[in-house]
């Protein structure tokens, strides 16, 4: 049947539809919103909600169809539109617009459209009371458009379009409730920090461009991934610089040290947005980019080491910061940062497909966790503080169950999805010989289990805090529950596509991605060691989980005692290592001071305007004064000067 359908619609058309449908949705909803602000007509929630959900859903179906087609292809498993039109270019080269779906982007596109559709559906319930319903979906659909452009784009500049575009949507959605200035500020912060990363991205592109220019024939799309990969040899001299800069871009988008600071603040947006953009999809763009350019990154071992170290450090520090957060979404935010760190760690040790695997499972369980937290917040009238919760498992049974599944998944408990991907990361780190990184990462994995179970303990167990909202709204919105259930199922089975051979699986995902990535950079370890370590890591996670559960659901007093015992440490963590304050004091304030006091009020106003411009005016005025002194205003003086002048001239002529 699919084949029959395809006889009528060409694959490139279908591919173009994938990003364009959400764009259409965005335009439709945006228009409806704008017109509703100045007329009596209001679009019904059903209408704008349906448009918003159906568009990504169709995209998802198209991706699925293309996935099916690509699986059937013999050699490359990829489909492409080829160059659609030339965007811009120089005499020797060009940037063409074209879309391409290969093994990597198919997985990403499936995740993005799939999870994206679910979250759209969830949002219909979550946002049902909001005035900006249509606006919200316009932004969300626009986000999907840019995200799909990022994934499907077949060249670096096109990827950059998506890269900045998702940043824009993130900005708009974080500041969605802009009447709260703090939320608007969070959005701005996200965009500007991301811009710092983009600065690296752009410069990375320039390095590649400059190195590839001599190889190009007129009209070559030298910045397309296929061209870069076939000419990777020419890039060896600039590989380190280019990849480091590109990685700077990735640290911005994927919230790694030193640019992670925007992500916790980004929780100001509506919770489904946090789930979609700041957990499941956009923040993994950095990982996708590194994986996409793996042939370039393997040329620069230094960069890979930097990536591994940064990823590992982020994983650990973010986990420590997650330990003490009181805001349910902040815990999840730091958890996201930490998990992204794991993914970069995997990239850094050359295990690209493992990183992508974790991207996928993380998308499932983190989206689930966020949506679950959204469900809790929705039930608690917008209250986000964990200390105001307690004992919610009776009131919100479905949320609790699914949330628990997500927690087990992230904690790395067999057979949930997170176990397979996280275990694969730790195994690859260990087997590649990075012992210390492995040790820290393992510690971070333990902390993950700890803070997640702390969250579950605080929110769902124990007694209700009497200071919190009295009434818990029951969960009865199907649109909100259905995505939770679907994601819960995915969080359980999602990892099964990557069961390693050591555990008797087939590791489908590795096989599927293998053609894209270089064969393992190092010797694969012993299979029995791998099995042993898998068991070990699960036990390790379980131990931490149990400790947290005891501390926070059974004996909360103990936790407070511990906090009091390690007060310094606790304060440091609660204040997030003072990173925001340090950035503010070291970068932002000096820059503002420099701009205002030095550049504007000194250089522009005094040096240029007063001294140079005003100075020349003063000199001119000085001459003017001399002239003025001769202007007495008395007519006889003028006549006298006239006569004197004519006498002088006459005398000159006679003599």
């Amino acid at each position: 049947m699919i084949e029959q359908l395809l006889q009528h619609i060409s694959i490139p058309t279908l591919m173009c539809l994938i990003p364009l449908l959400p764009l259409l949705g965005a335009i439709a909803n945006g228009k409806m919103y704008l017109f509703s602000t100045r007329s009596q007509w209001k679009p019904s929630h059903a209408l704008s909600g349906t448009i918003a959900v159906v568009m990504p859903l169709i995209s998802f179906l198209i991706v699925a169809v293309l996935f099916y087609i690509a699986m059937g292809l013999e050699d490359s498993h990829s489909v492409s539109t080829g160059p659609l039109f030339t965007w811009f270019g120089g005499t020797q080269w060009a940037v063409t617009i074209g879309l391409k779906l290969d093994q990597l982007s198919l997985i990403m596109a499936l995740v993005v459209t799939g999870v994206g559709s679910l979250i759209h559906l969830y949002s219909v319930g979550y946002m049902s009371h909001d005035d900006g319903f249509a606006k919200y979906f316009a932004y969300l659909n626009l986000f999907l458009f840019f995200m799909l452009l990022l994934i499907l784009g077949d060249s670096l500049p096109l990827m950059f379009v998506g890269w900045e575009g998702v940043g824009l949507c993130s900005y708009l959605l974080i500041g969605f409730w802009f009447t709260d200035i703090e939320k608007a500020k969070a959005g701005k912060k996200a965009f500007i920090v991301n811009r710092i990363g983009d600065f690296g991205f752009v410069l990375g592109i320039f390095f590649i461009w400059q190195a590839l220019q001599p190889t190009a024939q007129p009209g070559d799309a030298i910045l397309s991934f296929s061209y870069i990969s076939t000419h990777a040899a020419f890039l060896a001299p600039v590989a380190t610089a280019a990849t480091l800069l590109l990685f700077l871009g990735a640290t911005g988008k994927s919230a790694q040290i030193p640019l992670y600071v925007w992500l916790p603040d980004a929780m100001a947006g509506p919770t489904p947005v946090s789930a979609l953009i700041h957990a499941a999809t956009m923040v993994t763009a950095g990982i996708y980019m590194v994986a996409r350019l793996n042939f370039l990154f393997v040329l620069a071992p230094t960069t890979l080491n930097v990536i591994a170290i940064v990823g590992c450090a982020t994983a650990f520090f973010a986990a420590t910061m997650g330990l003490v957060q009181d805001d349910i979404k902040k815990v999840l935010a730091y958890s996201t940062v930490s998990q992204l760190g794991f993914m970069f760690l995997a990239l850094g040790v050359g295990a690209f497909s493992v990183a992508i695997f974790h991207v996928m499972t993380h998308a499932f369980f983190k989206a689930l966790l966020f949506l679950g937290s959204g469900s809790v917040i929705h039930a608690m009238d917008g209250e986000q503080r964990l200390s105001m919760y307690g004992g919610l498992r009776k009131h919100l049974p479905v949320t609790f169950t699914t949330f628990l599944i997500g927690t087990l998944a992230i904690a790395g408990i067999w057979p949930f999805a997170g176990f397979f991907s996280k275990d694969a990361i730790l195994w690859h780190v260990y087997s590649s010989g990075h012992f210390w990184l492995w040790l820290i990462a393992t510690l971070a994995a333990g902390l993950t289990a700890f803070y997640m179970f702390r969250l579950v303990g605080l929110a769902f167990f124990g007694k209700r805090n009497p200071a919190g909202p009295h009434h818990v709204h029951p969960e009865n919105s199907v649109t909100m529950l259905l995505p939770l259930v679907v994601l819960a199922v995915l969080s359980i089975i999602g990892g099964w596509v990557g069961v390693p051979h050591a555990m008797g699986g087939h590791d489908h995902i590795m096989t599927w991605l293998a053609p894209l990535f270089p064969t393992a950079l190092h010797e694969a370890g012993n299979e029995s060691t791998e099995l042993f370590m898998g068991l070990g890591s699960m036990t390790w996670g379980a131990i931490w989980a149990i400790i947290a559960w005891i501390l926070y659901s059974q004996h909360r007093g103990w936790a407070d005692q511990m906090a009091a015992r390690f007060k310094r440490c606790y304060t440091l963590l609660v204040n997030l290592y003072y990173v925001d304050q340090i950035y503010d004091a070291v970068v932002v304030q000096p820059l503002l001071w420099f701009s205002r006091s030095v550049l504007w009020q000194t250089v522009d106003a005094v040096l240029i305007d007063k001294i140079l411009v005003g100075g020349s005016a003063r000199i001119a005025r000085l001459f003017g004064r001399v002239g003025t002194a001769m202007e007495t205003g008395l007519v006889p003086h003028y006549v006298f000067l006239l006569v004197l002048g004519s006498v002088v001239v006459l005398g000159w002529m006679i003599l």
Binding site: G627, T628, T632, G633, L634, V635, P636
Partner: protein, 101 residues
């Protein structure tokens, strides 16, 4: 002794200098204007004398034009005097300092 053009020139020069002297030293605007008329007359005398001694009548035509200019000058000049008088109730040139820079 024959009267030559030079005699007339000397008279013309003297008239002119007297005119200048008047313009420079007097403060009554009317008398300054009269002194200007003197200077114009000096020029007229020179023109007629040259015309006579070089056998061209063009000089005399020029004098007629000077008359016209003098008339125009007197009309405008006296208009200014009246306007200035209204302004400061006097015609002393030293009482006007609007041109001071």
């Amino acid at each position: 002794m024959e009267i030559t053009v030079h005699h007339y020139i000397v008279i013309s020069c003297l008239l002119f200098i007297i005119g200048i002297f008047g313009v420079l030293t007097r403060r009554n605007l009317l008398i300054i204007l009269m002194s200007v008329e003197l200077m114009l007359s000096a020029a007229n005398l020179a023109l007629v004398a040259f015309s006579r001694f070089s056998s061209h009548l063009d000089g005399q035509v020029a004098v007629l034009f000077v008359f016209i200019i003098a008339a125009a000058e007197a009309a405008v000049g006296l208009g200014i005097v009246i306007a200035a008088f209204r302004h400061t109730s006097g015609v002393r040139v030293t009482s006007w300092k609007e041109l001071k820079g």
